[in-house]
């Protein structure tokens, strides 16, 4: 956890420093004496103080808890990274490709990645989940989901 605390503390300091730097460019308020930059500066100051405390604790060997190191050889880590890439792709193609094709492909790929090898489940689950979610949002709640390439069929 020591290394993780040092990194998290560093990120906290960096976020706080950026917030204070940006707040310096916000206008002052002459009537209220506190302008738009007042609150962010105080909060960023708090974040920096506790981030430094975390770093200080880690350097003194007083980090709490333990965390398993992420290793490429661990199948769980590979699955997690695959999910991240698939999730980013899901967001990117959701509008142009449409909800139904995107969700079916995503479900199928992720089920395979997560170790499902049952042909019946691989065929039915993506279809049932996707069409079920689509029916609830489109037909029951009357909310629009992206039609994408199926626009001519779905209207």
């Amino acid at each position: 956890m020591k290394q993780a605390d040092l990194v998290s503390g560093g990120i906290g300091v960096a976020i706080g420093a950026y917030a204070i730097w940006d707040a310096q460019h916000m206008p002052e308020d002459v009537v209220m004496k506190i302008g738009p930059g007042f609150f962010p500066t105080i909060l960023a100051g708090g974040l920096i103080i506790f981030s430094l405390a975390l770093i200080f604790n880690a350097l003194r060997g007083r980090s709490k808890g333990s965390v398993e190191r992420l290793r490429w050889s661990d199948p769980g880590v590979r699955k997690g990274l695959f999910l991240l890439v698939a999730a980013a792709l899901f967001c990117a193609v959701l509008k142009p490709l449409g909800f139904i094709p995107t969700a079916i492909i995503f479900m199928l790929v992720m089920m395979l990645v997560l170790g499902n090898r049952k042909p019946l489940a691989l065929t039915l689950a993506p279809l049932i989940v996707t069409l079920g979610v689509w029916a609830i949002f489109e037909k029951l709640l009357h909310l629009n989901l992206p039609a994408g390439v199926l626009v001519s069929i779905l209207g």
Binding site: G12, P36, P40, V67, G76, A88, A103, L114
Partner: protein, 516 residues
Amino acid sequence: MDINWGLMASSYGAVFTPSVMLLIAVGVTAGIVIGALPGLTATMGVALLVPLTFGRPPLESLSMLMGIYAGAMYGGAISAILIRTPGTPAAAATVLEGYPMAKRGEAGRAMAMALFASFFGGVVGAVIMTLASPLVSSFALRFGPVEYFGLALFGLSVIISISGRSLIKGFMSAFFGLLICTIGFDPISGFPRYTFGAMEMMEGPPFIPTLIGLFAVSEVFNESLKSGVVKSITAKLDQYLPSWADIKYCFKELCRSSVIGTIVGAIPGAGGDIASFISYGEAKRASKNPELYGKGQIEGLAASECANNSCQGGAMIPLLSLGVPGDAVTAVLLGAFTIQGLQPGPLLYTEHIDIVYQIFASMMVAQFAMQFIGMAGIQLFARVIMVDRSILTPAIFVMAMVGAFAMRSNIFDVYTTLAFGMIGFLMMRYDFPLSPILLALILGPMAEANLRRAMVMSGGEWSILVTSPIAVTMMVLAVVSLFLSIRKHNQVEAKLAEMEEAFEKTIGEQPAGAGA
């Protein structure tokens, strides 16, 4: 503010209509299923299903969410008893007594008591909420900007003090959450802050996508790292209600724990997990046979389950009367209120008193629905635990993304959800509590906007903050709570470590009979 019994009766009448009853039943069933699945919490369940309330009338929407909340709190006990894995953090204390009972071949007795205790706690919590909320809100009607600033400070001080094992990380989470809510237009002057020139950032991070990301998508990432081994259930579930002797034996504990749970729930930031551990600890302390605890003592099981459901009513008190959520689930519920155009707080009582009473009624009815659906579906819910994770994990992701997109049909919200999902996953992994972020998103703007309003009123004089006795009391309470929590943190941590050790010991034992 007196209770309007006529309105109360008509509110029950409004809830007892087929459409509302159906939605409560759907909510309770979904809640039990979500609660029973280890890793899926009540917060996640409500966050994931809030989008299903878009476009529905307030009564139907809020009734369904009340059902989910009640169901999920009980559902956690199912996997806690049958497979030694609490379905929700609030059921962690249930494992200590529930699993040893299942090992002895008393899974049916444990499940029946868990359900009844949840029902009992839920009803007591709902009654206290019904009686206490109007009183608190009539007091809060006197609040101006200075008092609200004091209240927000108090809420923030409590959140920080009870969040997580590391006080420093709790503080960091809270400050990070507070900084996030400064993104967008400044509440008084309208100056855009930290928007990087993006139009979508002008209104700040969208609330629903942010919370779906933090609480649902982060769990999807977490689940994908696990091995996905599903345990099978072999326990015999032959009892639907606890015996009269068991109820009599646990009655004192049920009463005590439901009051403790409601009080803990009413403290901003404290949720079902804390309520159940405190009640369990108190039950053990007051017991004539404390040495039997950890070996399948039905009293302890009743205390834990009763407290986490009564916590629900407690957490609704500050939400409805002050607009300050009592726990993470009610923070998500606040988002659902906003979608319906309702702003919880004292004004809700003057502007939408009918809705307030309907919430009281729907919460009470949800408890009865939970008892009946829980009894009817006990065999089915026990099997839900075995659902294939390789299907469930991507399905939750799809639902989360669609929910985030549907509200504004904006692809930016989908990216926000993914980004907060990653942030939430990394924070959970490195032991940073997530709840302070969610509550900071609500209390932060409240603190800033009211401080700035007070400063407008005083022409920039800071002395206005000490002109109101209520505000001064709250600020003093905030300082005292902060001081006490820092001082007592080591003590609390030692006690939690002791509880966790007992928990680890219980779950570390080899299973026999209940699950394999």
